[in-house]
Structure formats: C-alpha cells, structure tokens
C-alpha cells in the first residue's frame, strides 16, 4: 500500500509542485506565518506538537528515545523546550515550545518547525510513518480580532433592545435559540492541523469541548488556501479535542 501511495505522491508532486513531502509542507508554514499574522491577526503562539499513536514494542520505544535525544541535543541551538504527554486516546504528544519569544516571530516558528519536522523524519525513517496522526500548530488571535468580537457583542445587545422585550420570549418559541451564545464566547486559539496522510493543513477553532467556530475557520481558510496547501474537503476537517497545549 505504502509503495503505491509513494508512487501516487511522487506523481502528484510532479504535477502539482505545491504538494511536496511533509517537512516541505511544514516549512511552508514558516514563510506563510507573516502573512497569516498580517491578514488574519493570528500570531504563532510558539507551541507546536507532533501527535503519534503509541504502539507496544521496543522498536517504537527506541524510536521515541531517538527523537528525544535529538531534541535534547538541538534544543539549545534552536531555542526551544519540549515535553511529552500521553492523552486519553493513548497518543503520544511531543510538544515543542519556542523559548525566546522576544526575537522575530518567523524565527521562532522556523526553529519549532525544524524540531518538529526532524522528529517526524526520525519516526518515518524507523517505519512508523503510519503512526503519526498529525502535527498541530497553535496560533493566537491578536487584539484586533477580539475587538471585532467585542463590537459584535455590542451590536447584538443593541438589536436586542430594539427588538423589545417580547423578543426574548418569542425567540424561544420561534426556535431561534441559543446558537448566538457561541459567537459571544471569546475565541482565543486557532490550531492548524497538518495531516501526515493527506499532506494538507486545516484550521480548527474549538469553542469549548463540543463545538467549533466554523465561520472563523472558513474566514481563515479563505486566506490560508493561497499560502499553504489546505485540505479542501471539509468533511476531513476532523477536530482534535482537548489538545494538551
């Protein structure tokens, strides 16, 4: 299967130069991060992680040991820290945090991406490519965007007043119900999830545990699709709940 997939990928990357292999895709994010910050008001938080399915056996354990050894060696040069975390689905998260946030942001994301992609390379070289679930990059909404939210909220409250008092009671009976509460919740983070199997990114903006802000995800998509290779099939935008960072 992998053989065919390789060939298909090879052919695909010949036809479509935007589809390279994993580390290329991850590094494309570093050059895109300036535009992402400028246009969407999204700043890289300095944290990214690789999510790997844990399997039994000494070979896998040694592979992870190789990864942590590499990270230990390179963490001073590339100015990051790392930690590992095992979640309730029994997935291992290798979380890399850029240390020196005072330097230019594109440097931070480049360093973190370097650590992340080389970790991924080690896992792939040891034959565990199928175990890699995804790489996840955390972005924070800057103030300009949350201000927009604040205005939205103000606007909402004004219309509420205009709609008079019976508005609220009829709202329930009409079925125009609690959906509005979602948009008032302040959105803080956008996670860019890189799927190692489809070689594409997609945005995920959690609203609590169960919900997501699809409108903001679509807004992000409208800009992101010209910067990085994006999963165009929405039905594959699977959330990762309880991301541990």
């Amino acid at each position: 299967m992998r053989f065919f997939k390789r060939i298909l990928n090879r052919i695909e990357s010949d036809i479509n130069p935007s589809k390279h292999d994993d580390s290329d895709a991850i590094f494309s994010l570093t050059s895109a991060s300036i535009s992402i910050e400028e246009k969407l008001g999204l700043q890289f938080s300095g944290i990214a992680a690789l999510c790997v399915k844990i399997i039994d056996g000494i070979v896998f354990k040694n592979t992870i040991k190789d990864c942590t050894d590499l990270l230990n060696v390179s963490k001073d040069e590339f100015k990051f820290d790392y930690k590992t975390f095992t979640d309730s689905y029994n997935y291992l998260w290798i979380i890399i945090t850029g240390k020196d946030m005072t330097t230019i942001h594109s440097d931070v994301i480049t360093n973190v991406a370097a650590g992340l992609s080389s970790t991924g390379d080690i896992i792939e070289e040891n034959g565990f490519a199928d175990q890699i679930l995804s790489a996840v990059f955390k972005f924070k909404f800057l103030n300009t965007f949350s201000q927009d939210h604040f205005e939205n909220k103000k606007f909402k409250s004004i219309t509420e007043v205009n709609g008079q008092n019976d508005d609220d009671s009829s709202r329930n009976s009409n079925g125009m119900n609690e959906n509005n509460n979602n948009t008032i919740n302040n959105v803080e983070n956008l996670y860019l999830i890189y799927n190692y199997k489809t070689n594409n990114f997609y945005p995920y903006i959690p609203l609590g545990y169960h919900k997501r802000d699809t409108t903001k995800e679509l807004q992000a998509l409208s800009i992101l699709k010209s910067l990085i290779s994006i999963e165009s099939d929405f039905s594959k935008w699977f959330p990762i709940k309880d991301i541990p960072f």
Binding site: K5, K39, L40, C51, K53, Y89, Y91, D130, L133, S134, K156, T159, N162, G163, Q164, D166, D167, S170, R171, N174, G175, M176, N177, N179, N180, N182, T183, I193, N195, K197, T198, H210, R212, T214, T215, K216, E217, L218, Q219, L221, S222, I223, K225, S226, S232, D233, F234, S235, K236, W237, F238, P239, I240, K241
Partner: protein, 297 residues
C-alpha cells in the same frame, strides 16, 4: 471607491446574457418553424398569453400554497422581521412579505412578481439551525433574487419551453390541427412539429438550468455585498447542505483507525449530473464566497 468584492461579477453576467440570447434564438426558430408548418402565429400567441397571465398571477400563490407557507407579522417573528428591515433599508428596497413554512428541513425561497410585490419564506428548520448573522446572509440571498427579478427571468425563460412541451404532447396524442384531411404532407408536418418541439424543450431545459445556476451565484454574491459577511453565508450553506459538506464532529483519533478513509477522494458529483440541477454544487458556492472573503482582508 469600490473594492473588488463589491464589483459586479462580469463573467457571470456575460454567461447569463449569452444563455438568454441562445434561448431567445432557439425560441424564435421554434416559432418560425411552427409558423412555417402552418400553425399560425395567432394560436401560438393566445397559448403564450394564457401561460404568461397564468404564471404572472398565480405562480406565487401556488408556490406559497403548495409549500404550506404562512405570512407572519412582526409580532409573531420580531427578530426575523427586524433582520429583513435592516437589509432592505440599507439597500433601498421595499420590504417583502415574510412567510414561515412549518417544516424541519432547512430551506428558504423567494417568490412574487417583482420587488414591490414579493414574499420571502423560510422554514422553521432553518430558523433553528442558523444564528442571526447566517440567517441575515440567507435572507439577503433571497432578497437578491427578488431585486434581480429572478422569478420573472426564469418564468419568462421557461415559457416557450413549457409551450414546446405542450405542443409536443398535444401533437403526439394526434391531430391537433387539420384533423380533417390526413394526406401525407400533413402527417409529415405534424411529425416535424413534434420533433422541433422536442428539441426546443430539451435544449431549453438545459439552458434554463444553466441560467438558474448562474442566478444562484449572483444571488450569493449580492447577499455577500449586502451583508459584507461572505463567510457567514458560506457557513450557513454548509449547515443547510447537511452532513456532506459539513466539518465533522468526530475526533481525528477516533476515525484514524479507518486508514483507507484518508485515501478515498471526495465523492464529487460529475459535471453530467450538474447539468440537470438548478443549483450549483455547494462546494463551488462556498469557494466563490471565500474568494470574496479573501479579497476583503
């Protein structure tokens, strides 16, 4: 100053004009052939006038009646009314009547003779799943249909198509003209009339569908221009269209076991199937809206 997203989509306009001219040409040929075959202009005109009047006067009532829509006052649905009032006052349009269809399936439609006499209807299902901003996008979409007089455009465009269909059936069940003398010439004439009517109906069917799809794109664009929130309408489309185009709720780690899942390409409807549909595929509509959104940053 006009931003790129506020401009008219000339590509779509050109395509609509192109389709309408082809359609007009087709209809002229159709009438010319009928006239040449001995079916005078007069009966055709009477049939056409009958259809025009009937559709003009009854179409909206039939639509409302068949869908079970009920006109609602601002006391019954205050927020629905206030959303529409805000859109129409910003865009200098007369306020349409508002109707609600008691149906769980999320949908909305507009009908009526023109901007001053129209009805915008929504189902209770759509009120349940959309938030106010998304609902505003959908209502603005329907109001753009009203402003562009799309009901009239499609009615007029499909008028001769309907007549061609009638002629076809009429001719098929025999002898609707010159029943008395059945000489060879006339028999052949009837056959040609049926054939021409069939071709007219078939070709106009596809052209009308194409026009309808283009009108949908312009209504989406108009809605985004009215509200300034293309992504909200895109999100509403995603919600309305059901699970196919929706972002999933299931965690990636839960579905990861189905490894093959990721290799299967998205099931895309073929262009052949698209030819038959009145609405463009939702993904394409969302893509266009997001292109508008992107040009706003």
């Amino acid at each position: 100053m006009q931003h790129p997203w506020q401009k008219r989509d000339t590509g779509i306009t050109v395509r609509i004009v192109f389709c309408l001219s082809i359609l007009a040409l087709l209809y002229i040929i159709f009438i010319a052939v009928l006239a040449r075959m001995g079916l005078g202009f007069f009966p055709i005109m009477i049939i056409s006038a009958g259809f025009i009047l009937a559709q003009w006067f009854f179409s909206d009532k039939i639509v409302l009646w068949s869908s079970g829509a009920k006109i609602v006052t601002s006391d019954q649905y205050p927020s629905l009314h206030s959303i529409i009032e805000r859109i129409v006052s910003r865009n200098n349009m007369p306020k349409p009547k508002i109707a609600v269809v008691p149906n769980r399936i999320p949908n909305a439609f507009a009908t009526g003779k023109g901007p001053s006499n129209s009805v915008v209807a929504v189902t209770t299902g759509i009120l349940e799943i959309l938030d106010d901003d998304e609902l505003e996008g959908v209502l603005a979409h329907e109001l753009t249909h009203v402003r562009n007089r799309d009901v009239m455009v499609i009615t007029l465009a499909s008028l001769f198509s309907t007549i061609a269909f009638q002629v076809m059936q009429f001719g098929y069940f025999g002898s609707f003209y010159n029943y008395g003398d059945r000489d060879r010439n006339n028999g052949g004439g009837t056959l040609i009339i049926i054939l021409v009517a069939f071709v007219t109906w078939l070709v106009s069917f596809f052209i009308i569908r194409a026009i309808s799809r283009y009108r949908e794109y312009s209504a989406d664009r108009g809605s985004a221009q009215m509200t300034g929130k293309p992504a909200k309408l895109a999100n509403a489309l995603m919600k309305i269209s059901g699970t196919m185009n929706q972002t999933p709720d299931k965690d990636l780690r839960q579905v990861e076991g189905l490894n093959a899942f990721f290799i299967i390409p998205a099931i895309s409807t073929s262009t052949f199937a698209n030819l038959f549909s009145t609405h463009p595929p939702v993904e394409k509509r969302i893509q266009r809206l997001l292109d508008m959104e992107a040009s706003m940053y």
